[in-house]
């Protein structure tokens, strides 16, 4: 095992002779373009690892409280709108698809295709945030935002709450009803953190569209688009779990 990588790096040494032919985007401390592309892709993956662990803390908290306060979590989850949630899942999956297509366009040097794909991705991202805003607004109106103004009304008296009535919720005991606040804390922390990632992503997308129109990514240097693609798919991936855990706990009850 120890000596095999000497062969792997063979490419690196020979490339040293071809110094004059470096493409302009190769940074001076790399020996070859491949080394540069590999290094930045690997760095992106490591960054995503930190994201996994960042959301991991939230998922751990969710698991614990869901098991402790199951009835509260069920009733509280009924306050979310499955239609909006499903729609947003579809929107995000579509945006992931357009992003993947964007990467393909960059790799195959299709400038207009790339601009189109990135624009679509950004639009879908904005649609997602729009729907999220509608959902948040509903929560604010019903005083389901944790904190001083949190209201237990929907859970103590489900007969007068549309969403709870539709789900056929029974009134919760006061003690259990109070734990719905934990659900909404986690709901806002998780979806809020996710939305923050979306907003950052959309900002970067706007920058990329601007650059892509000038042909920045269709000249063979696709690392940036690829790395952003990893990020965007990861955000999609987090949502896939959030959707299952927050919206679909138990619609049947």
């Amino acid at each position: 095992m120890p000596d095999s990588s000497a062969i792997d790096h063979g490419a690196v040494t020979t490339a040293g002779d071809a110094h004059a032919e470096h493409p302009s985007y190769q940074r001076h401390h790399f020996e070859t373009v491949e080394q540069q592309a590999d290094a930045s892709a690997f760095a992106m993956w490591l960054f995503l690892l930190t994201e996994v662990m960042f959301f991991g803390g939230l998922f751990t908290a969710y698991l614990i409280y869901r098991n402790w306060y199951y009835p509260a979590f069920v009733s509280a989850s009924h306050q979310l709108n499955v239609v909006w949630g499903t729609l947003n899942t579809v929107v995000l999956i579509l945006s992931s698809f357009t992003m993947a297509m964007g990467v393909w366009c960059a790799e195959t040097r299709r400038r207009r295709g790339l601009v189109l794909c990135l624009t679509l991705t950004m639009t879908l991202g904005l649609v997602f945030l729009g729907i999220k805003t509608v959902e948040y607004k509903e929560k604010i109106e019903k005083h389901h935002v944790p904190g001083q103004h949190y209201s237990l009304q929907s859970f103590l008296d489900p007969a007068h709450d549309e969403a709870a009535l539709a789900a056929g919720d029974k009134p919760l005991a006061l003690d259990m009803a109070r734990h719905t606040e934990i659900y909404f804390s986690l709901y806002f922390a998780m979806t809020g953190m996710h939305a923050l990632h979306m907003i950052i992503g959309i900002g970067i997308l706007a920058f990329m569209i601007f650059r892509a129109r000038a042909g920045a990514y269709t000249g063979g240097h696709v690392t940036f688009v690829e790395n952003f693609g990893f990020y965007w798919h990861f955000v999609d991936l987090v949502w896939i779990y959030l959707f299952a855990l927050l919206y679909l706990i138990s619609r049947h009850q």
Binding site: G57, A100, I240
Partner: protein
Amino acid sequence: MSEETKHTHQIVGPKVYVIILFALLIGTALTVWASFIELGPWNPVIALAIATGKAVLVVLFFMQVKYSSKLTKLTVGAGIFTLLALISMTLSDYISRAWGRW
């Protein structure tokens, strides 16, 4: 070491992406449908199983891990391993604090 410095990059075509897109959409429909059916303790299991299935598709194809170097695969594995360490070791406390409340 088995790390490749040469670029093992493989371009994945639109055909694969379209197939994955439909698989993901079907998975979404499936998981929503399943959540409305009474399956007792199996509801969350199925929801998580479908979510994981979708996540695997995203990671393998959209994120191209299927076509990537061993190092990338190892990185993904390390992430899952540490995430499971965090969850399982924390839960080991909570589960055993009061047996049966879980």
